[in-house]
Amino acid sequence: MIFRIINKPELRELFDVMAVNRIIGPVRKGTSHEGKPLYAFEPVTDFNDLKLEYTTTTRPAKRYFLPSHETLCTFSVHENGWDKSVDFNIHEPHVFFGMHACDINALDKLDKVLLESSFPTPYYAAKRKNMFIIGVECDPQPFCFCRSMGTDSAFHGFDMFLTDLGDRYFVEVESAAAYNFLKNIKTREPEEKDHARYMKVVAEKNRKYTATVDTTDLAKILDMEFQSDVWKYWGDKCLSCGTCASVCPTCYCYGVEESVDIDLKGATKKKHLYSCNLIDFAEVAGGHNFRPESHTRLKYRYYHKHRGFMEEFEESLCVGCGRCSEACLARITVPEVIASVRSGVKPKGRSGRHGK
């Protein structure tokens, strides 16, 4: 890895240099009912709109590489049959300006199943290979447990990564494309004092984490506690709404639906992201449902994230971004569910997330 230092005003220069491309970044979208700012990944044309100090985005950047609805192919139907035409739905590269380490790690995890295993999916590949990612160091929030998941820093999967050192940025340069972009602005070699400052900033960040998940032997414990009553407790709370999956940066399950065009001359095959918590997720034609109760579906979600993916790739599919806990209408949080499965004790008199 190559490291550089840039003075803060230079970042605007870098943005302007890159602005010939489509830039997606964190922007402020509104205010929550608690008065906190809400952020989202949106196309940015003005550097002033870019909020690199954002807490987190309510939704991940998933819609740019795993859109909730996507056309897989279209058919033209004629007298003697039909023809299929496939489009991967990407027409220009995207620059992601300001992704946190958790979201970059989420992409690396998705790569494992969508790019590097058998039958890689071209719809994802085409978008992923056309992402230029600038990571930015974050400010841990009360719901963040990425440090427990080992995803609080990113080692790869980005082009450059910025850490705010006060009046300057410490820049990790991962790709040649990033190196070339940096040639357009003033940069310098980091000195010993920059290294010291960087380590101090990271140490300060690490002290800010409050939420934790004990992942010791978690895959094994989930297997042992498959019949635990605790699942029923959480299942009874779960509304089976699928919100957790829609805000999850690593949920990739989907369903496919086809429709006939109104002129009867064509048809469309569409994919829409799904959630394993939705009631018909495992229902087969004829009506047999392999997971009819909400607790079996909720359990399955934890199994896939923390056990199945572990079995296949030696790591968990959860990056600890905490979005699902924040978005859950039933206030089910990952740290609480896992703690209860580990201890076998259902939470008593819980007051909801963050003591609310």
Binding site: M18, V20, N21, L72, F75, V77, G81, W82, K84, V86, F88, H91, P93, V95, L114, S118, F119, P120, T121, P122, Y123, A125, A126, K129, N130, F132, A177, F181, N184, D223, Y252, C253, Y254, G255, V256, E257, E258, S259, V260, D261, A267, T268, K269, Y274, C276, F281, A282, E283, V284, A285, F290, R291, T296, Y300, Y303, H304, R307, G308, F309, E311
Partner: protein, 301 residues
Amino acid sequence: MENKLPLVDVLKGVPGYQRKSDLGSFEYSYKAEITNVYPLTANEKLYQIQIVDPEMRRRFTFRPGQFVMLEVPGVGEAPFSISSSPIRHGDIELCIRNVGNLTNFLSRVQRGVQVGITGPFGTSFPLEEMMGQNIFLIAGGLGIAPLRSPVLSVLENRSRYANVDIIYGARQPSELLFTYQYDMWRKFDISLDIIVEKPDKQWNGPVGLTTDILREKVATPDSSLSKNTYAIVCGPPVMFKFVCNMLTEAGIPMQKMFVSLERRMHCGRGKCCRCNVGSTYTCLKGPVFDYWSVMNLKEAI
């Protein structure tokens, strides 16, 4: 404009052709024609489906137990076990019950319709490994559909297997599938026992469950079962446990017992997660599992 990032074409520079890693063929389906529709019962029909391109048809190979995704544009796509012999290549037969959206549409089509076929996908029954041994094939209801391919394969290589026993159970005689082939199977030295739960007036065969026949077959303790016998089981979820337990007690090792599981699938390629059992993809690690693997899968049967 030197800072303009180039659009990367993911299809460029992929070396060689490998279906399992080829991004370009992910959404490719063979154009195939339904050449014949043969009604088997009130709800099930046998579809003879031929890949249109003769070269593609010849190159299409599969192993018994594997499945294909069948697609009707605008209607849907679903997985179906191949019911024909592998020596017929891309001239396949699918036994389909009219039960859902796509199959309801299929139940109303006539021969000549063009459909899309993708695959084959999934694991298969290890018929080479079974050579020289006895085979129990136990099917319940529609479970005969994925079993017909190994049955036909065994028939075509009859000298390579010892005793072959098919035990097939259905709810009632009118639901029995492939009735026109029973005589042929028996003539080719395959023992075929058929049992129904609810007999009608014409029925003069045994009445009960597949396990009733199986119990008789494995009643006499035979220590050689563990060494010389394989079993293939396919049927409704409730059947697996009872049949596999009985076979285990009879001494057949778990890794010589194979089941074919049914799950919902939207892709067949290990991506949509709909078929996951516990967290194992039925489409990649299955649909054929040995019983040991099934025992290790949570909520499999």
